[in-house]
C-alpha cells in the first residue's frame, strides 16, 4: 500500500512557487492508478516524490506502512519502488543487455529473459541487445527500452511517467496490452501518468491532478466524461455549443 499524507512541494528557487499543495492519496496493492490532468499540474512531481527524485516540502510518504519520506532513491528502489522516466537518459558504453541486467538484479540474466522483456515493448532482442543506449537510438526506442527495464526490475510498485510519449501507434497498442496483462496478473501496483484514453480505461482508479492538487478521483467511466467536459469547457468557442468556424 502506498500512502501520501498531506504532501506539499514548493520550489524555493521560483520564489516558493507551490507545485503540489496538501495532496493525500492511497493506492492499494495490485491496483492500477492512472494520474492524468493538464500539463504543469503536478503529476510528474508527485511521481518523483514517491521515487525520491525530489523531497516534499511537507507531508509524509508511506510504503507498506513504512515512512519512506527521507529515504534515498536507492533505498526506495531496494524496497520495491521503480520509476520509468518520461525522458530517459542515454549512456555511452552501456548496452541494452547491460541495462536490463542491472534492472533485473540478476547478473546472469539470460538472452531469453531479455527477449521476453523487449518483446513486451515491441522490440526484437536480436536487433537491440548489444546496442548501446546512446544517441544512435531514436527517442521512441529509448523510451521502450526504459519501459522494458521497469518490466525487468519486476518491482512491487511500478511508476510510469507518460509511457506513451514518443511511441508510435503500433508499439503503443503492444504497450497497452502489456499493461493490461501485468494488471491481470496482479503481481504489481502500477501508477501510470497518461493522457491516453486507452490507458485511462485500464485503470481501477483515475486521479485527475491539476493546479497542484487532486481535482477528481474515480473510475474511468466516471472520470472520462469529466475530463471531456473540462476540456470543452475551457474552450470558449466549443462551449457555445457549435463547432469552431
Amino acid at each position: 500500500m502506498l500512502e501520501l499524507q498531506h504532501v506539499s512541494y514548493s520550489v524555493p528557487e521560483a520564489g516558493g512557487l507551490d507545485i503540489l499543495r496538501d495532496v493525500s492519496l492511497s493506492v492499494p496493492d495490485h491496483t492500477l492508478v492512472v494520474l492524468t490532468g493538464p500539463n504543469g499540474g503536478g503529476k510528474t512531481t508527485l511521481a518523483k516524490l514517491i521515487m525520491g527524485l525530489a523531497a516534499p516540502t511537507s507531508g509524509r510518504i508511506l510504503w507498506n506502512g513504512e515512512d519512506i519520506t527521507r529515504l534515498s532513491i536507492t533505498e526506495r528502489a531496494r524496497r520495491g519502488i521503480s520509476y520509468g522516466f518520461q525522458q530517459p537518459p542515454r549512456f555511452k558504453g552501456i548496452t541494452v543487455r547491460d541495462l536490463l541486467t542491472m534492472a533485473s538484479g540478476d547478473k546472469t540474466l539470460s538472452k531469453d529473459r531479455c527477449c521476453h522483456f523487449l518483446t513486451r515493448v515491441g522490440l526484437c532482442a536480436n536487433d537491440y541487445l548489444d546496442r548501446e543506449v546512446d544517441t544512435s537510438l531514436s527517442g521512441g526506442e529509448v523510451k521502450r527500452i526504459e519501459i522494458a527495464s521497469i518490466l525487468a526490475r519486476g518491482a512491487q510498485l511500478m511508476i510510469f511517467d507518460e509511457p506513451e510519449a514518443g511511441i508510435d501507434l503500433w508499439s503503443f497498442s503492444r504497450l497497452t496490452e502489456t499493461f493490461e496483462q501485468l494488471h491481470a496478473k496482479g503481481s504489481a501496483t502500477m501508477m501510470i501518468i497518461s493522457h491516453q484514453e486507452r490507458i485511462i480505461s485500464l485503470a481501477d482508479e483515475v486521479v485527475v491532478v491539476g493546479e497542484g492538487k487532486i481535482l477528481h478521483r474515480g473510475s474511468a467511466d466516471e472520470i472520462l466524461p469529466k475530463i471531456l467536459s473540462d476540456t470543452l469547457g475551457s474552450c470558449p468557442v466549443l462551449s457555445k455549443g457549435g463547432a469552431a468556424q
Partner: protein
C-alpha cells in the same frame, strides 16, 4: 618466466596472460628477455644494435596472435625499446602489446616503447596496447609510447590503446599513414587520477585514394589530473576521416581537447567532434532507481564509458 606474483599480476592486467602464452610471444622484464617463442609464420628476433625486437609475419598468416608484453618490477629503470613489425601481404593477425610497471621505490621507472608497423597489401592487424602502473613507492611510473604505422594498399589496422590507471605521466604519439584503400582506426581509452598527466598526439595521414581514418578517444580525468588530446586527420586524396573525442571531467581535473582535421584535396571528407562534460545527473538518478548507490552508479557509468 613469470616467476613472481608481481610478474603474474602485471601480465594478467596488461596482456590477459595466465601461464605460458599461446602462439608467438616475447616477454620483456626489467630490460631483459624473460621468454620468447616464434612460430612457423611469426618470427621474433632480438635487435643487435639497440634494445628491442623485430617481428616478421609471413604472407598469408591468418588467425594467429603475437604477444609482446613488457613489465618493469624494479625502481630506477629507464629504457627506450624499439619494436618493428613487418606484416606480410594478406594477413589477419592480433598483436597484443602493453606495459606494466610495479614501482615500490623512490626512483622513477620509465618505459618508452617505439613501435613501427609496416603492414602489407590487404592485411588486417588488430593491435591492442594496455598500460598499467602500480606500487606504493614515491617514484614515478612513466610511459611514453610512440607508434608509427604504414599501411599499404587495402591494409587495415584497428588499434586499441588502453591506459587502465596508475601511470603518473604519459606522452603518447601515434601516426598512421594510409595508402590506397587502406583504413586506420584508433580507439583510445584513458583514465587519470591524483596528479597524473597524460598527453596524446595522433596523426592519421590519408594519402591514398579511398583511404579511411577514424579516431575514437574516450577519457576520464579525476582528482587534479590533467589531460591533453591533439588528434589530427589529414586528407591528401579522396578519403574519409572522422575524429571523435569524448571526455568525462570530475573533481578538480583539467582536460584540453584539440581535434584537428586538415584537407589538402577537394575530395577529402573529414569530420571532427569533441565533448567534455561531467557525468549527467539524470544518468546517476536512473541507475539509482535501479537500486545502485550513487558510488556504484558512478563506477558503472565510467566502466561503460571506457569499455
Amino acid at each position: 618466466m613469470m616467476d613472481t606474483e608481481v610478474d603474474r599480476a602485471l601480465l594478467l592486467k596488461i596482456a590477459d596472460l595466465v601461464g605460458k602464452p599461446v602462439g608467438a610471444f616475447n616477454i620483456r622484464k626489467d630490460c631483459g628477455c624473460d621468454g620468447r617463442e616464434s612460430t612457423e609464420h611469426i618470427k621474433i628476433t632480438g635487435k643487435t644494435d639497440k634494445a628491442g625486437i623485430d617481428i616478421r609475419i609471413a604472407d598469408g598468416t591468418k588467425g594467429e596472435s603475437c604477444r609482446i608484453p613488457v613489465i618493469i618490477t624494479k625502481p630506477g629503470i629507464t629504457e627506450t625499446v624499439y619494436n618493428d613489425f613487418y606484416v606480410g601481404a594478406g594477413c589477419d593477425v592480433d598483436i597484443i602489446a602493453g606495459c606494466g610497471i610495479h614501482n615500490c621505490g623512490g626512483e622513477d621507472s620509465r618505459h618508452d616503447g617505439v613501435h613501427t608497423f609496416y603492414v602489407g597489401k590487404g592485411s588486417r592487424v588488430h593491435y591492442v596496447e594496455k598500460h598499467y602502473g602500480e606500487g606504493d613507492g614515491t617514484g614515478g611510473r612513466i610511459m611514453n609510447p610512440q607508434t608509427i604505422v604504414y599501411l599499404e594498399e587495402g591494409a587495415l589496422i584497428q588499434m586499441d590503446t588502453i591506459q587502465i590507471g596508475g601511470i603518473d605521466s604519459t606522452k603518447r604519439y601515434t601516426k598512421i599513414v594510409c595508402g590506397k584503400g587502406a583504413e586506420g582506426m584508433i580507439t583510445e581509452r584513458l583514465m587519470t587520477g591524483g596528479t597524473q598527466t597524460a598527453e596524446s598526439d595522433m596523426d592519421i595521414v590519408l594519402d591514398g585514394e579511398d583511404s579511411r581514418g577514424r579516431v575514437i578517444s574516450r577519457s576520464v580525468a579525476r582528482g587534479s589530473s590533467s589531460q591533453l588530446f591533439r588528434p589530427c586527420v589529414q586528407g591528401n586524396a579522396k578519403c574519409f576521416g572522422h575524429v571523435q573525442c569524448d571526455s568525462i571531467i570530475m573533481d578538480d581535473a583539467k582536460i584540453r581537447s584539440v581535434p584537428e582535421i586538415a584537407a589538402y584535396s577537394t575530395e577529402a571528407q573529414l569530420i571532427h567532434e569533441a565533448a567534455i562534460g561531467k557525468i549527467a545527473g539524470d544518468q546517476l538518478l536512473k541507475l539509482e532507481t535501479l537500486g545502485l548507490t550513487e558510488e556504484e552508479a558512478e563506477d558503472r557509468i565510467l566502466k561503460g564509458f571506457l569499455a
